[in-house]
Structures are given as C-alpha cells and as structure tokens.
C-alpha cells in the first residue's frame, strides 16, 4: 500500500472571534478588569459565580450583582503537567480547579498556580493573583494562588493597561486555532496521485455507467462503493460558468475578470470545477469545448491543472450536456 496522502490543516479565524458578552458576563469581566470578582443572586438566594443573566432553575432574569471573594476554596482540581503553548496562559505546570469564592454558592473553573501538585488539596484556601495589565478578559485574574492560614489576599494592583476602558465590557476577542492532519481517503488519493501523472481518474460503481470525478468512493445516488476506476478525457464542455469581477483574497487569485466554470469532461457524468482562460471573459459560453492546461510540475494536488483553454472545436450541441447544465 502506498502511504496515505496527508495534509496539515490549521482551522482559525484571523484575529480571533469577536463576541458580544451580554450584561451578566460583561459585568463579570468588567469586575475582573477592575480587580474584583462579581457574582449574581439567583431566585433562591444562592450567589452564582460567574454571574448568569438568567436563573439556571427558574430562568428568571437575574440582576442583583454581589461582590464575592476575594479569597476562595478549592472544591475540585486536576494537575496539568504539560501546558500547551499558545493555548494555556500559564507556561509552567498548574492546576485547573473549581474554586468557590467566599460569599458564593457555586464554584468557578479557573487555574491555580501552586508550583507543585503536592501543594494542591481539596478544601485548600486560595487568593486571586491579578494580572498587572488588565483588559476585561478572563485571564485578568491571572491565577488563584495558595493562601496560608492567617494571610489575607492582596488587593489588585492598579491596572497598568493604559488602553483599558473604564466603561462596562461589552465584547471580547477570543483567538481559537485548531490543528489537524487530515487524510484524503482512498478514492481522493487515487485521483490526486493520477493528477501528478497528468491523468484525470474517476470512479463508477458496479452496475452503473455513471462516472464520478473527482471520486469520493461512493455513487452518491445509491451509496454503492465505486470500485471501478475510469480515466476520463482532458477535454470537456462548459456546462455553466460565472464571470468573477471581485478580486480574490489569495495571492494566487487570477486577475479579474476571470471565469469559473463547470466542465463536463468527456467520459465523466459529473461536471468538474475549473477556471477558463485563453478566451476573453465575455466570449465564454455554455457549450464551448475546453482542454486542461497542466502545471509545469504537477503533483497530487488540485492545482496541478492550472486552468482550461479553448480547443477551437465547434461548440457542443445543448442536447449533449443539458442534463448537466
């Protein structure tokens, strides 16, 4: 067996997601920025931290915000030996913990910076360690730290973030990035490998003449496996097209205007997406016959076919491709 085709893939939105936080979370984050912890009183009198805008039992709107802490008690913890770079805000081992701030009836999930798992225990007393530069984000409370008997928590130092607003926090930006090693699968790998040999290969299922290209491994009408490989032509017919007048964001985007088309390759039963060049955009039309133009160094990559160009043949009659238009 040849090695599987794999591709590293990063899923992220540049700059992070901008989220509106609403009144309750906004109040909480404003509190963290200003160096104190805020909860809310629920319908049954319980104090909930972080505050919710509604009661978790009765769904009533909650608006009675109450200060809690600053000290708290660990009610559950787990030790993190290997912080993940770019994700965890502490770069050395720490604990995730559920901490119940004094005056609160619920616990909040946060981190405890205790140095060693041996320093952690359920019931231990902790105090907040505030970031010196705060912006209305959950890590403004940098970490909970052990609080020895008889000690009182230090108040938050003045905020050194000169850009911080004093208005209530209404939104945050949360960066999220996930990394993958995705694999193409059997059918797509065969297709991609054939591209590096300047061949276009589709598949069909037993008992069906329908050739799917690119193949996904099944006949999507029946779900039957497409085990039969079929090489299709490199010449085809434009079944429909679109003239693009908006520049693409990628540096590889063609100059505008350019033409995207659905191309029915000879021998295939699904139209195939490609660019059409070598013909002024306003002369591209349904039925025009085109051929694949290969990259100089094709590989197992969809970009191995740069675009399609006219063959100069007469246009295909509409009846030949109307089922695909």
């Amino acid at each position: 067996m040849t090695s599987p085709l794999m591709q590293h893939h990063v899923l992220e939105y540049p700059g992070g997601y901008t989220r509106s936080v609403g009144p309750a979370v906004g109040r909480y984050l404003s509190g963290l920025r200003d160096g104190h912890i805020v909860g809310v009183r629920g319908s049954d009198g319980r104090v909930l931290v972080p505050p919710t805008g509604y009661d978790p039992v009765t769904a009533a709107t909650l608006e009675e915000y109450v200060p809690v802490g600053p000290a708290g008690t660990v009610v559950a913890f787990t030790w993190v030996n290997h912080p993940r770079a770019g994700k965890h805000h502490l770069t050395h081992p720490f604990a995730f913990a559920l901490v119940r701030p004094d005056g609160s009836d619920t616990a909040m999930l946060h981190v405890v910076d205790a140095g060693s798992p041996d320093a952690m225990s359920i019931g231990m007393r902790v105090a907040p360690r505030w970031a010196s530069s705060r912006r209305g984000y959950v890590t403004d409370l940098e970490a909970w730290v052990p609080l020895a008997a008889g000690e009182t928590p230090e108040p938050a130092p003045p905020n050194t973030n000169e850009e911080a607003s004093t208005e209530p926090v209404t939104g945050i930006v949360t960066p999220i990035s996930l990394e993958y090693d995705i694999n193409a699968g059997v059918a797509a790998s065969k297709y991609l490998r054939a591209l590096s040999e300047k061949r276009i290969v589709g598949q069909r299922a037993k008992g069906s003449d329908d050739v799917y290209v690119p193949p996904r491994g099944t006949d999507p009408t029946t779900g039957a496996p497409t085990e039969i490989e079929v090489e299709v032509g490199q010449v085809g017919t434009v079944t429909t097209y679109c003239v693009v007048n908006i520049p693409g964001l990628s540096e590889n985007s063609p100059e505008i205007p350019y033409v995207c088309a659905q191309i029915l390759l000879d021998g295939a039963h699904t139209a195939w997406f490609g660019l059409v060049q070598g013909l002024p955009a306003d002369e591209v039309r349904m039925g025009v016959r085109v051929r694949a133009v290969w990259a100089d160094h094709p590989g197992p990559d969809a970009r191995s076919i740069k675009w399609f160009e006219p063959t100069g043949e007469p246009d295909a009659p509409y009846d030949d491709y109307k089922a695909y238009a």
């Binding site: 067996m1 599987p4 794999m6 893939h9 899923l11 997601y17 989220r19 936080v21 979370v25 909480y28 984050l29 909930l48 972080p50 919710t52 978790p56 009610v75 559950a76 913890f77 787990t78 993190v80 993940r84 994700k87 965890h88 805000h89 995730f96 913990a97 559920l98 619920t106 616990a107 909040m108 999930l109 946060h110 981190v111 359920i122 984000y137 959950v138 890590t139 945050i172 949360t174 999220i176 996930l178 990394e179 993958y180 090693d181 995705i182 694999n183 193409a184 699968g185 059997v186 059918a187 797509a188 996904r216 491994g217 099944t218 006949d219 999507p220 009408t221 029946t222 779900g223 496996p225």
Partner: protein, 355 residues
C-alpha cells in the same frame, strides 16, 4: 409501549472502529456500516423512509462534513434527511420521533467521526462556555478530571474503584473485535500505573478512536417481517444539565436520572446496560443515576473505554444492547448516551425483546 405510541424496533446494526485510520476518509468509513446495517435488517436502501446522521465538523476541521457523508448513504431520488451535531444516539431519537408522527415507518441512522485527525481532547474542550471557560483551554480530559475529583471528594469511592471499572472494561473489551484497546490486567496492576490527569490514569480515559456505526429502526409491522427477534424501544428520553460546571453537583447526574425516569428504566429488570462513560468515574455516577441493580451486566462490550469513536459511541451503546436482545442473550436492556463536558447531556433508551 401503549398510549397510542407506535412500536419501534432496532432491526439492523453495524459498526467499524480503528485506532488511527489514515487510509479512509469519513465517507469511506460510513459506506461499510450503512451497507452492513441494511444487510443486517434485510432492507434495500430505497425502502428506508428517513435518513439521519450525527457528527461534528470540528473533528476534521472542515465545514459541513455531514453533507459529503450523505454520499455514503445514497440520496437520489432526493431523500428525507436530517443531521444532528450530536452523538448519533440523538439522531436515533429524532428518527424515533419522526416514526411516532406517522410520517415515516423506517429510518437509517448513522454516526461517524475521525478523532485522530486533530487534538480531540482540546477540540471537545471548546464545548465549554466561550466567554469565561474556553479561553482558559481546559481540555475534555481536564474537565472530566475535575468531575472525578469532585466525585471522589463527595463519596466514599477511591481511585482503586476507578481502576476496578477500567480493569473490568478492558477485560471485557478483549472479546470485542471492535475494541481498539483491551487488556487482561487487574485493578491493582492499573492502580500501580501513573496518574496522568489527577485523579485519573490513562486506563480511566477512553482511547482516541476513529469509527462509524449505523442502525436501522422500523415499526413493528416492518420489524416482525424482517427480523426474527427485534429489539423494541420501550422508552427513550434525553435531558440536559446546566453548562456551567460550577452550577451543577458534579458528583451526580440529574439529567440522567430524569431521562431514566422518562424512559422507564425501573419498570422491569435490566439484564444488560451499555453506558456511555468515557471515563471510569462516569460509570459510577451513571449507574447510580440510572438506578441499576448490581445484577445488571454493565458494558459487556468493554464500553467506551474499549472503543470511543466520538459522535457515534452513544449510538453503538444502543446497537450493542439491541444485538444482545436480538441474539436472545438478554431480554431487557438499557442504553445510555452522553454528550458535552462532564456528562452535560444524557439520553436513555430502554430496549426489550418480545416475551
């Protein structure tokens, strides 16, 4: 099940698992189980009235993977179709409701997921509150470990009880060809191994698994004609707990308890239970919430600690219980499915054979 409800049974089941499948993509994982479940039910694809899947796009980092997944089920002429971004056990619930409406008489349900492509534990952590919890990046295992910590603190159970669950599950998995991790080790041997996520050991944590599963359900009329001993769904219910971990009593599962009442677990003896416990301590919490007696055989397949193809692990629990009823080795069983951090959402399904 009386009350004018239509009787619905599981009549086909197939599953597929792998520790790390680098060869097939999602569509190619689904093909064999759809074909397998149809063959098991003795039904043709075109006899199925309703098709529904459960999956999570974040597993592979691609948008709308469930749309291409449908290629494996066949969708022409256009079929009645739906999808849930939940474990496919919830897809089965929707299919069961669709049959209750009288609109359809049979359904194909499938779930799939390739957990090995990304960092599953990190991805699942993003189900937490996006404002004040997810930005701290607790993983799914970190949050489960917090629940284990809270559970052990609130009860008399100890880490050796967790190891006993893990040892029993790993031993049961030896006989399950679909298990990706199995071992004949004693609880004492597991206890001697290092704690990886206080208070959990590697053996307490479900393995990363790629896989898929499909189930066919149908009305009694179809079931009795196609299947020698259908596994009838006698009750099914699902409930959700609050998202905030601090808002819940993590030592119990209120949503499972309510779902178990709704599904009627206590209306008869439970021969077998397949529980969607991805961590050892979850089984102890869930046993209690489901109200199981000590005589009930729990996770004879090895459960999620043997194989955990995320987004279909819960559906497989239903398939495993149904298979035991259909084979006659059990008469009445309970399948449980869970989703979300620390057992946030829970589904309970009671299955039974005809007497």
């Amino acid at each position: 099940m009386g009350n004018g409800m239509r009787e619905v049974a599981v009549i086909g089941f197939a599953q597929l698992t792998a520790l790390e499948d680098r060869e097939h993509n999602e569509v190619e994982l689904i093909i064999p189980v759809v074909q397998g479940a149809l063959a098991d039910a003795g039904m043709d694809r075109h006899e199925i009235d309703f098709t529904i899947s459960g999956s999570c796009d974040y597993l592979s980092g691609g948008p709308f993977t469930f749309v291409s997944g449908l290629d494996a089920a066949g969708a022409w002429p256009p079929v009645k179709e739906s999808h849930v971004e939940m474990d496919a056990a919830w897809a089965l619930y929707e299919a069961w409701v669709a049959i209750q409406t009288g609109d359809v008489d049979s359904a194909l349900i499938y779930g799939f997921g390739k957990s090995s492509l990304g960092d599953l534990h990190e991805i699942m952590g993003l189900q937490a509150d996006p404002y004040v919890v997810a930005p701290l990046w607790p993983s799914m295992v970190d949050m489960a470990a917090l629940q284990a910590s809270a559970f052990l603190a609130a009860t008399d159970y100890t880490e050796s009880d967790l190891c006993a669950i893990a040892a029993r599950s790993r031993r049961a998995a030896v006989d399950n060809p679909y298990a990706v991790r199995s071992e004949d080790a004693t609880a004492q041997e597991l206890l001697a191994r290092p704690v990886t996520h206080t208070p959990l050991r590697d053996s307490d944590i479900a393995p990363i698994t790629d896989g898929s599963a499909a189930i066919i359900i149908a009305t009694r009329e179809i079931a009795d004609a196609r299947c020698e001993r259908p596994a009838y769904i006698r009750g099914i219910d699902h409930r959700v707990d609050a998202q905030g971990l601090g808002l819940r009593d993590l030592a119990t599962s209120a949503s499972t308890k309510l779902a178990a009442q709704g599904a009627g677990v206590s209306k008869g003896p439970v021969d077998v239970a397949e529980i969607h416990a991805q961590f050892s301590h979850e089984e102890l919490i869930l046993r209690e919430a489901l109200g199981l007696e000590d005589t009930t055989v729990v996770n004879p397949s090895g459960g999620p600690l043997g194989a955990n193809p995320v987004m279909t692990t819960g559906l497989i629990r239903i398939g495993e219980v149904a298979a035991r009823i259909r084979s006659g080795s059990a008469n009445r069983g309970v399948a449980h499915a869970s989703q979300g951090p620390c057992l946030q959402q829970n589904l309970v399904c009671v299955l039974e054979g005809d007497q």
